[in-house]
């Protein structure tokens, strides 16, 4: 939103495309228009207020806003710029060409597989956030909330404020980890206060809080009936101290992963960041990638939070304008420098939060052999370990041998786990394993949408090969 608003205000002919019904992404997700009394539901929620401000600014900016739109294919054009193929829920297929492309498609959830996690009643923290924000829905009657980082606490507090019950909050970080982040958190004092408020909400509601614990099992028959959790030592290793908690829903999440497929598809160079334990696009400090005309902004470039994202979005717009000759070098430097400094400060906060979200490395090794890792294809850890032992030396080979990552999610759910596990069994770092080749369509698309209505005679078939 920030990038498009800024770009339009700089006089660039701008369009923004998003799959959702309204702009806002995850953090600033708007309640579904289908919900009438949504004003009451969100009340004084600062995210909603900020989101509305940004949506208003965007709608007044003059940028063309394409909602309910999936960009399913992209390519660089020989004459420069990019061609984007889109599908709109009602209007069908269209194509757009552009000189500059800013990718701001954010992240998806990182999940550490756990025994029983495929039972009905288990959802990701991000999914729980969407349910709360857009649908005013609670995950269940008594929800266990497990994982790490601020989202864990936001979801738990959101459930309580929404009138639901949180059976327990299970955080893989310790109190000391949060304390260590306090100085950085204090630099964005409003966010710190909000975090403390979440904590207060949970304490007042009497929610049991388990720090330095991991999920070791999801219990139940046909659906979730509870969870087993296990203590972790200061290095993140399971201690063997288990306890059982009851609940009828589980919201879990262990961090965020940049959704790199669109960037990779266009050939943007990516590097593995050991500090973040993530692949991220390489950018030059002004959002440029190694592909001319291609820019990355927001969490896509590395998980640094919403505040940093908005600043980076504006920076991307300025850089595009400068690269297209709409700003002089001195104008660009004058406008970009304060943004870069503010972004740097906000990103430090985001980085501290990302560190708390990140699962302690021993959690991957603790996955049971029988636990399903690739949910789409039903692959268990055992099969991944076997493929690795038998010689699958990189992610693409693993995929080819086991079908891991070939299902409808195309590796979004299993990619991190598969990489961590293969790394362990091969005894090499995750970077050496590479990553899965990005291909089109960027998301599953019904054939009916791609083919539309047509006459056989219209199909442009080249002459057949000789007999």
């Amino acid at each position: 939103m920030a990038a498009a608003t800024e770009a339009a205000s700089l006089g660039l002919r701008t369009a923004i495309a998003d799959m959702g019904e309204a702009p806002g992404g995850q953090v600033y997700r708007s309640p579904s228009p289908a919900l009438k009394p949504h004003r009451q539901a969100v009340g004084n929620d600062p995210d909603w207020i900020e989101g509305e401000r940004m949506r208003m600014a965007l709608s007044e900016s003059g940028a063309a806003i394409r909602l309910k739109t999936r960009v399913w294919s992209m390519a660089r054009r020989a004459e420069g710029g990019f061609r984007l193929s889109m599908h709109h829920d009602q209007e069908g297929l269209s194509q757009v060409t552009t000189t500059a492309l800013v990718l701001a498609n954010g992240c998806h959830e990182k999940l550490v597989p756990v025994a029983g996690w495929t039972k009905p009643g288990v959802m990701g923290l991000a999914a729980a956030t969407i349910a709360l924000k857009a649908g005013s829905l609670l995950p269940g009657d008594r929800t266990v909330v497990a994982g790490g980082g601020p989202l864990l606490w936001a979801v738990a507090a959101g459930i309580v404020k929404g009138g639901g019950k949180v059976a327990a909050l299970v955080d893989h970080s310790g109190f000391g980890d949060w304390l260590a982040a306090l100085p950085v958190m204090a630099t964005q004092s409003d966010l710190l206060i909000r975090g403390l408020a979440w904590h207060g909400t949970l304490l007042r509601a009497g929610v049991p809080i388990f720090r330095r614990h991991r999920l070791s099992k999801v219990l139940g028959g046909e659906r979730v009936e509870g969870v087993e959790i296990e203590g972790l030592d200061s290095k993140g290793f399971p201690t063997g101290a288990h306890r059982t908690l009851t609940g009828d829903a589980l919201a879990m999440g262990q961090g965020l992963v940049p959704s790199l497929s669109p960037a990779r598809l266009l050939g943007a160079e990516c590097r593995f960041s050991p500090e973040d334990d993530l692949w991220i696009p390489v950018s030059d400090g002004h959002t440029r990638t190694n592909q001319s005309g291609l820019y990355v902004a927001g969490d896509l470039g590395g998980v640094r939070g919403a505040r940093a994202a908005a600043l980076e979005g504006r920076l991307a717009a300025l850089t595009v304008a400068f690269d297209q000759g709409k700003l002089s070098k001195s104008q660009f430097e004058l406008m970009a420098e304060p943004l870069r400094r503010a972004h740097h400060r906000a990103a430090k906060f985001g980085a501290a939060m990302a560190r708390l979200m990140r699962p302690p490395p021993p959690l991957w090794g603790a996955i049971d052999q029988d636990t399903i890792v690739c949910r789409c294809e039903g692959l268990r850890r055992r099969e991944i370990d076997q493929a690795g032992s038998a010689g699958a030396g990189d992610m693409n080979q693993l995929k080819s041998w086991t079908r891991c990552g070939m299902g409808p999610c195309q590796g979004r759910l299993c990619g991190e786990a598969a990489s961590a596990l293969l790394s362990k069994v091969r005894g090499v770092g995750r970077e050496a394993l590479g990553s899965w080749t990005a291909r089109e369509p960027l998301m599953p698309l019904p054939l009916a949408d791609l083919v539309g209505e047509f006459d056989y005679a219209e199909i442009p078939q080249p002459p057949p090969a000789p007999a």
């Binding site: 297929l93 080819s400 291909r439 057949p464």
Partner: protein, 381 residues
């Protein structure tokens, strides 16, 4: 760190052609090195297809080779030591109008004459063979020997077999320099320099460049084949399906995914490989698929991929000695390379080893026909 190594045979290009030649030479006790520019074997044309093994798609002149090759696909567990996922589910070719019916009738007659058991069948029979077939077709043919294998397993199967036979696989290694003659060949790949008594070029779309290094002017075009796959579905298709126009190849795998191809072109080149799909071509391919089996409209497209394939001006394979060389051979540009790979690779290995080949190499496969001085005599497509 230049490692000097000496081999009996150096093979350049690790698609199904090169891998098959390597396999048979290694089985005969030859010391073989195989260079491949990609990270694994069979990653270009050899897996940029739907796995179709259909006599109905093979040019009449190649039917005798195809019949033998299909037997090899079926018996892969014996000679390759790996199950390539072969399934003989019968094949249907569809013609959608009168003109296509004429093509179908003529071409299938030629294939039948060459030994392929293909019959033109009536509409009821076609719909009995394939329950979800469209009503909107003009005529159809059927071949009970047709089927498919799992194209994605090709690379893995050959890699394991070649590892077992101690073939030296040099993946992610292009060959920059090649020179030599009767006394042997020297190849430079990055910092590696190797020598080999014999040389085999199986570099697919890159054959033109490779042959040029041996001073052979044989133009080889680069095609970029596009294939797509749906998510898993309940069983909706029994047969392997293709179109009389040759622009559709369609089947449902045992996992339930539907593979859709037909030689539609994507974007790419020899330097970058296959880089982008061309959406209009994907749409056309999918439209053909949905026209043949309307139930497919319900499926979701999950993924597409690309692979480079070689084509020469007369659409015939190049197979035989590199012109002007007694110890260098070339095999490629087969157009039905996936289907014919097992037999053609075996035959070339037999010729190299001076053994009686399963089938003689036809004269019109001779690479020399494409030299500048001979081109005017070719039937160009």
């Amino acid at each position: 760190m230049i490692s000097q190594q000496q081999y009996d045979v150096a093979i350049v290009g690790g698609g199904i052609m090169g891998a098959t030649v390597a396999l048979h030479l290694a089985k005969a006790g030859q010391n073989v090195v195989l260079f491949e520019r990609r990270a694994g074997l069979c990653m270009e044309a050899s897996s940029a297809n739907t796995g179709a093994l259909m006599l109905q798609l093979i040019r009449a002149a190649f039917i005798p080779f195809a019949l033998r090759s299909l037997e090899l696909w079926e018996s892969a567990p014996q000679w390759l030591g790996y199950d390539m996922g072969f399934r003989r589910n019968g094949g249907l070719t569809l013609a959608f109008n009168e003109h296509e019916t004429e093509l179908l009738t003529d071409w299938m007659a030629a294939r039948r004459k060459a030994g392929a058991p293909i019959e033109i069948i009536d509409r009821d029979r076609a719909r009995a063979l394939e329950a979800n077939l469209t009503e909107d077709f003009h005529s159809a043919s059927y071949c009970p020997l047709d089927g498919y294998a799992d194209a994605k397993r090709c690379g893995e199967g050959y890699r394991r077999a070649l590892d077992t036979l101690s073939v030296h696989l040099r993946c992610e290694q292009s060959v920059q320099e090649m020179a030599g003659g009767d006394a042997g060949y020297r190849l430079q790949s990055g910092r590696d320099s190797i020598t080999a008594k014999r040389l085999v070029l199986t570099g697919g779309a890159w054959l033109g460049r490779l042959l040029a290094k041996l001073d052979c002017d044989i133009p080889v075009e680069c095609r970029v084949n596009q294939v797509a796959v749906t998510e898993r579905m309940d069983p909706i298709m029994d047969r392997s399906i293709c179109a009389a126009t040759g622009r559709l190849s369609l089947k449902q795998s045992k996992e339930g995914t539907v593979l859709i191809g037909g030689g539609w072109q994507g974007g790419g080149d020899l330097d970058r490989g296959g880089v982008e799909i061309i959406p209009e071509h994907l749409t056309a391919n999918l439209r053909l698929a949905c026209h043949a089996v309307p139930t497919l409209r319900k499926a979701r497209l999950l993924r597409s991929w690309l692979g480079l394939e070689a084509k020469v001006m007369d659409y015939m394979p190049i197979m035989g000695s590199v012109p002007g060389h007694n110890n260098a051979w070339v095999l490629g540009a087969v157009h039905a390379g996936y289907t014919l790979g097992p037999i053609l690779g075996k035959i070339l290995a037999q010729v190299i080893l001076d053994e009686e080949p399963d089938l003689a190499i036809p004269d019109n496969f001779n690479p020399a026909r494409l030299l500048p001085e001979n081109r005017s005599r070719l039937e160009v497509w």
